[in-house]
Point group: C2
Chain length 154, copies 2
């Protein structure tokens, strides 16, 4: 019962961008995030495109272009974010499985309630909550390290 | 965030055996469950071995051998069952992933709380609860159909 890699990467992009100065020059790029988190550039392109469509990340083109977090993204509820990114709302793909109990399965109802409880618990927290304190400090250090070690990018 | 195939199959085996007459001759076999649910025999061997070790399923060898549910398995709490079968207690494999935030990540705490809420919700229900009513009727029909269509096995 792991989150998809897509969700995992999305959450890290949201957290990283949340602690970036939106007026930073140069702006954060996909290449930067790929390096910082040691994740594949191609995966991140899909992740960023999706989050741009969802209105959580803003992208600008051109030499000074890049990524920044949308103004109100800090208020995003984490349960809703994960639910949206996972793209399915069930713990077993009953429709895709040949099962003799489909349509008559009380287990499915219990699994659905369990998943709803997970999202409800995570909805108690916002994106801003998880980039506070020591997490926020860590991310700010990553940004600082990047700017210090990429002076030619200025 | 799907349950593993292993957990899925395990739950179906538990449900199927819960509605079998423990004195049925011949006893339920892995081959029978594989046919009833259209799932691979080899996967089921691993599933049944694991559940026998956990004391949830009893196996007997020999010509009259087979599988039956353990006497008190109906009292198993579904959250605990799924937690045991999934074999991990986290939504992101933080230890197996190279992440610049490991050790300083408030998101991990929120994910852990979400997963705990899922298990707590599912622990409100027992195995007996999900093989009651229409689900139980469906499973009993499966058993009856099997016995009717496999007379040579008697």
């Amino acid at each position: 019962m792991l989150l998809t890699r897509f969700t995992d990467l999305s959450l890290r992009v949201l957290m990283y961008l949340s602690k970036s100065d939106p007026d930073r020059v140069p702006a954060v790029t996909i290449a930067e995030i790929a390096t910082q988190f040691d994740v594949p550039h191609n995966h991140l392109i899909k992740v960023v495109n999706r989050m741009a469509k969802l209105g959580w990340v803003e992208t600008t083109r051109g030499r000074k272009g890049g990524l920044r977090i949308a103004p109100h993204a800090g208020e995003l509820r984490l349960g809703s974010v994960v639910k949206e990114l996972e793209g399915r709302d069930e713990l077993i793909d009953c429709a895709g499985v040949e099962c003799a109990l489909t349509g008559n399965c009380l287990l499915k109802g219990v699994l659905d309630k369990g998943l709803a409880a997970l999202y409800a618990e995570m909805d108690k927290y916002t994106l801003a909550d998880v980039v506070a304190n020591r997490t926020g400090t860590s991310i700010i250090k990553l940004h600082k390290h990047w700017m210090d070690t990429h002076p030619t990018a200025h």
